[in-house]
């Protein structure tokens, strides 16, 4: 019997050893590739999340890179999410360069070393970080590691239907949340049974880009304590202010003063929403008069609803933050070199090219309709700027615009808070203080595990 247990223990120990043998050493200091003499041909594997039309456009950018570095060929693969990238890193067969849409994973990528810290390369080559707006640098680093560079970004603002504004005699977009409530009330149309036929604006988290992240930034919320070790969701009064404002807004705009009536009407209205990335999008269809959305919507409208008479503006801010009007939630695509890349030096060349080449960034901005992420590209005369798109360039450059603090738990903080927010706005969670405390406790538990 004893022998049997020993055998089981031995197998367990063997498995445990096999499982823990994955840690990597940091490797030698980087050495730049020789730029003189004959170069050995190198093929860089590039994995990214682009798909479809955007992938085709993205793949065009490598022509310029190959002209500049003729011995390097880039093999680009699209439709690759972070899960696949992480699996490849763990298996020891990663690509050379990776691109991710999930900005929240920066904390895990940087702190684990899964994405290499680019500081040694930058210091060696005198790479100038001041060519990026400060906000873009803030969201591409974590814990002292600059493990990613920005490659285009998103900015969020207010879209409004000009025809509906004119019909209602409204001449200017709202700049504060109390103005937003007034305008929303004027533009909301109810059916004979009290249901919402057209919403002025939908202020429910989970509706398209209206999330705890985008709305929280308008209130200037803190997600974490200063040292990043604890959730600030139960401490920061800005969170309470946001949730209480939302409740008042729902009661006032949709419920004729009664929150639950408004919440029920809103739930039914949101349930009928059209797909965000199709012609059935509520704003494009005229089902809502205003909406919080990203700059890419300008491209969708140009493509799918060219006759829509619309304008854009920064999203309104709380009345006590009126001086911050013009700011907004920003954050976008990131690129980096995974641990174990076979060609890190060539990968670094590609990374620099993608992150800083003005023509490349302008080309992508003009085609994919994202905001370019260098000062030079933002000022480029080749940038195709419509008045609607200009709003988002301005939001990105506003000193108050930012992305939330990163942490080592990725987007788990948003997921946890979003769950509470969904119950809060539906009226099934009624104790705000207790709810926020529980969210904070859950996040703290996860932070402790990730430390």
């Amino acid at each position: 019997m004893m022998k049997r247990w020993l055998a089981v223990a031995a197998i367990f120990a063997l498995v445990a050893t096999a499982c823990t043998a994955g840690s990597e050493d940091p490797g030698p200091e980087p050495e730049p590739p020789s730029t003189t003499g004959e170069q050995e041909p190198v093929t860089l594997e590039m994995w990214g999340a682009w798909t479809g039309r955007e992938l085709d456009q993205f793949n065009q950018i490598f022509e310029g890179f190959t002209e500049q570095y003729p011995w390097i060929t880039v093999r680009s693969r699209g439709g690759v999410g972070d899960q696949k990238i992480i699996t490849a890193i763990n298996s020891g067969e990663p690509p050379d360069v990776v691109l991710s849409f999930v900005l929240d994973n920066i904390g895990q990528f940087c702190s684990s070393g899964a994405w290499q810290d680019l500081t040694p390369y930058m210091e060696r080559d005198g790479f100038d970080l001041s060519q990026f707006p400060a906000a873009a640098l803030q969201y591409t680093s974590f814990g002292g590691s600059q493990c990613a560079l920005p490659f285009l970004t998103d900015a969020y603002g207010l879209y409004y239907n000009v025809d509906m504004f004119e019909e209602a005699g409204i001449t200017e977009p709202p700049t504060t949340l109390s103005e937003l409530a007034d305008v929303a009330k004027q533009l909301t149309v109810f059916g004979p049974d009290g249901s919402i036929e057209r919403a002025g604006i939908v202020m429910a988290t989970g509706y398209y880009e209206t999330t705890v992240l985008t709305m929280g930034s308008m209130f200037g919320v803190e997600w974490y304590s200063e040292d990043g070790t604890q959730s600030a969701i139960d401490d920061d009064p800005a969170w309470t202010a946001f949730f209480e404002w939302q409740k008042e807004f729902i009661a006032d705009v949709y419920g004729e003063g009664d929150f639950q009536t408004g919440a029920d009407r809103l739930e039914r209205f949101v349930a009928g929403q059209g797909d965000e990335f199709s012609t059935a999008n509520d704003f494009q269809e005229g089902r809502v008069a205003m909406n919080l959305d990203g700059e890419w919507r300008t491209a969708f409208i140009a493509d799918e609803a060219p006759d829509l008479n619309y304008a854009t503006a920064p999203f309104p801010v709380p009345d006590d933050r009126a001086d911050q009007y013009g700011m907004g939630q920003i954050g976008g695509t990131i690129i980096g070199i995974p641990q174990g890349s076979d060609n890190p030096e060539e990968a670094w060349l590609l990374l620099q090219y993608m992150a800083t080449d003005t023509d490349t960034l302008v080309y992508m901005a003009n085609n994919v309709r994202n905001v370019p992420t260098t000062v030079a590209a933002l000022e480029s005369p080749d940038l195709d700027v419509t008045p609607q798109f200009q709003t988002f360039l301005d939001i990105f450059q506003h000193p108050g615009s930012h992305y939330k603090q990163h942490s080592a738990i990725g987007s788990a903080d948003q997921t946890t808070l979003a769950d509470f927010a969904a119950r809060w706005q539906a009226g099934t969670a009624t104790d705000l203080e207790a709810g926020l405390q529980q969210v904070a406790q859950q996040i703290d538990d996860q932070l402790a595990q990730a430390a």
Partner: protein, 325 residues
């Protein structure tokens, strides 16, 4: 001496033969043994080990003892929410599916003509890929565009259900999806029903038994092994429910696969089933240690339920000619 030597030969020969026979058996079994060791035993032991570690996939696992189990039992409301949702779908969905499968199979024993066509038609939905079927149901049951609510509206229903978009009705949508794809269970019940000896019904007719009495005292006992099989499989699949809930939640929330974590469980956590939560923790939040602990809890619960069902089945499952009990 000669006798002793002869006795030695007698003793050795069977041992060699047994060894050779054993090796032959092992040789033939080796593909299964290799598959079992590398594809089942090794991952299971790995996950058991990970369940005692802090393992974020990107860095080496770190031993933390029972901390994952303590957290999930004492500090994680999503764990209990996932348990509640999973128990609901099993408690409501499995019996309804079995009842509907029996009813459909019984209907298909009736027609004299075209029975093969009807059987094929009823069986076809179960051939649909789960993800495609789930997406189709989201469209059909869409509160604004979907034909179901439009028909309900035409019949004067003022506030038809929000189906997958409402926390109170979303799980019912999944139950309807399961009932629509009942063909796999139906075909087994059909075989069971056709296997019931006709003499038993004839004897009951002579005794003057009603239709219900014949169903209750002949049909049900005779197909009880099939009911038991369906119940067991249904409960185990219920614990593992993933694809449909995942696809529906992403479609309803409008989340892409890249930001799937934000959408799972939508609306309001009503679609957060155990396997969905396990996936979210392991592959979207990269908490592989915690997800492994969830997997072992799921394994334990499923095992206890299975054993309880097997034990309880001795009271109500009747095998013709005795059979295994």
């Amino acid at each position: 001496m000669g006798i002793a030597a002869g006795a030695g030969v007698i003793r050795r020969r069977p041992r060699r033969r047994n060894l050779k026979r054993g090796l032959t058996i092992l040789l033939f079994m080796s593909p299964w043994i290799a598959g079992f060791c590398f594809l089942i035993l090794y991952p299971m032991l790995s996950s058991l080990y990970f369940s005692f570690t802090k393992y974020a996939l990107l860095s080496a696992p770190e031993w933390i003892g029972l901390e994952n189990y303590r957290l999930l039992f004492t500090r994680d409301p999503f764990f209990w929410l996932a348990i509640r949702n999973t128990v609901w779908i099993i408690a409501v969905g499995v019996p309804l599916r079995i009842a509907f499968a029996i009813f459909t199979a019984w209907l298909l024993t009736r027609p004299q003509r075209g029975s093969r066509v009807y059987r094929t038609l009823y069986f076809l939905p179960s051939m649909a890929p789960p993800a495609a079927a789930a997406l189709a149901f989201v469209v059909v049951f869409n509160p604004r565009f979907g034909p179901v609510n439009q028909i309900l509206g035409a019949f004067g229903v003022d506030e038809p259900p929000l189906w997958f978009y409402g926390p109170g009705s979303s799980k019912w949508g999944l139950v309807l999806l399961a009932l629509w794809g009942v063909g796999d269970a139906m075909i087994i019940f059909l075989a069971g029903l056709l296997n019931v000896p006709r003499q038993l019904y004839e004897a009951a007719d002579i005794e003057g038994a009603s239709g219900w009495q014949k169903f209750r005292h002949i049909t049900l006992p005779m197909i009880s092994p099939v009911i038991f099989f369906s119940l067991l499989i249904g409960v185990i699949y219920g614990f593992q429910l993933f694809t449909q809930a995942y696809v529906v939640a992403l479609a309803v929330s409008g989340s892409s696969v890249a930001d799937a974590a934000q959408g799972l469980g939508t609306p309001q956590g009503s679609m957060l089933f155990f396997s969905v939560y396990l996936f979210e923790q392991g592959f979207l939040s990269f908490r592989m240690g915690y997800a492994s602990a969830l997997a072992w809890v799921l394994f334990f619960i499923a095992m206890v339920c299975t054993l309880a069902l097997i034990k309880g089945s001795r009271r109500w499952v009747h095998y013709q000619g005795g059979g295994f009990r």
